[in-house]
């Protein structure tokens, strides 16, 4: 049970990612694929954020700081959660929304051209 609970976040992220992945490769509807892609990327973000957590850690903003220097040694590292994965994930989120935007633009054009967003129908029209 400890084994299960200790990594619960990881199990959930795997489950979520697989849901997204399945939607991406198995669904015929192009919009559904994009929804799957969003879920997929969000799962990765969940994974990264989970890396950064520390039990008993607080948000990564220095407490009680104005604009004055603080001696590096006086800061307790274990008190703050790891900021690096958060930084990486900001990038990933932004990338995700960019790809979504482009993909939706493509979907609109595909709909205008083929009058459907179902992949099998498009393939039937192409062949």
């Amino acid at each position: 049970m400890e084994f299960f609970l200790g990594k619960f976040n990881y199990w959930v992220y795997i489950a979520m990612m697989m849901i997204g992945f399945y939607a991406m490769i198995a669904k015929h509807n192009l919009v559904k694929k994009i929804i799957g892609m969003n879920i997929f990327q969000t799962a990765i973000i969940l994974f990264y954020v989970s890396i950064g957590t520390k039990k008993g850690g607080t948000i990564p903003i220095l407490e009680g700081a104005g604009h004055h220097a603080v001696a590096p040694e006086s800061i307790n590292v274990a008190h703050y959660i790891n900021p690096l994965p958060h930084v990486l994930m900001l990038t990933a989120i932004v990338v995700g929304v960019s790809v979504t935007g482009v993909a939706l633009a493509l979907i609109i054009l595909i709909y205008k051209r083929y009058n459907t967003v179902e992949e099998d129908e498009i393939l039937r029209q192409l062949s």
Binding site: N9, V31, L46, L90, I93, G96
Partner: protein, 81 residues
């Protein structure tokens, strides 16, 4: 970090993600995806990743959903699967 809240949120998120890909109405799916992102943002606030949470709330739940709706405006909102 509050463990029970964490678990509940994760379960809700799983349910929402399954819902988002199974619902046949694409508009509903997009809205569910927005809800999913919002729950995600909550989860991350709860985990201490405030910057990610803000971004996810504004991007995932906000702009992304708007994009979906805008795209669905031009296409078909019904899906076969």
């Amino acid at each position: 970090m509050i463990w029970p809240l964490d678990f509940i949120l994760l379960i809700i998120i799983l349910i929402l993600s399954v819902a988002a890909i199974t619902v046949r109405d694409l508009l509903s799916a997009a809205i569910i995806l927005g809800g999913f992102s919002f729950m995600m943002a909550l989860l991350w606030t709860e985990m201490g990743a405030v910057d990610v949470a803000i971004t996810e709330a504004s991007v995932g739940a906000g702009v992304s959903t708007v994009f979906f709706v805008a795209a669905l405006h031009h296409t078909n909102r019904r899906s076969k699967d």
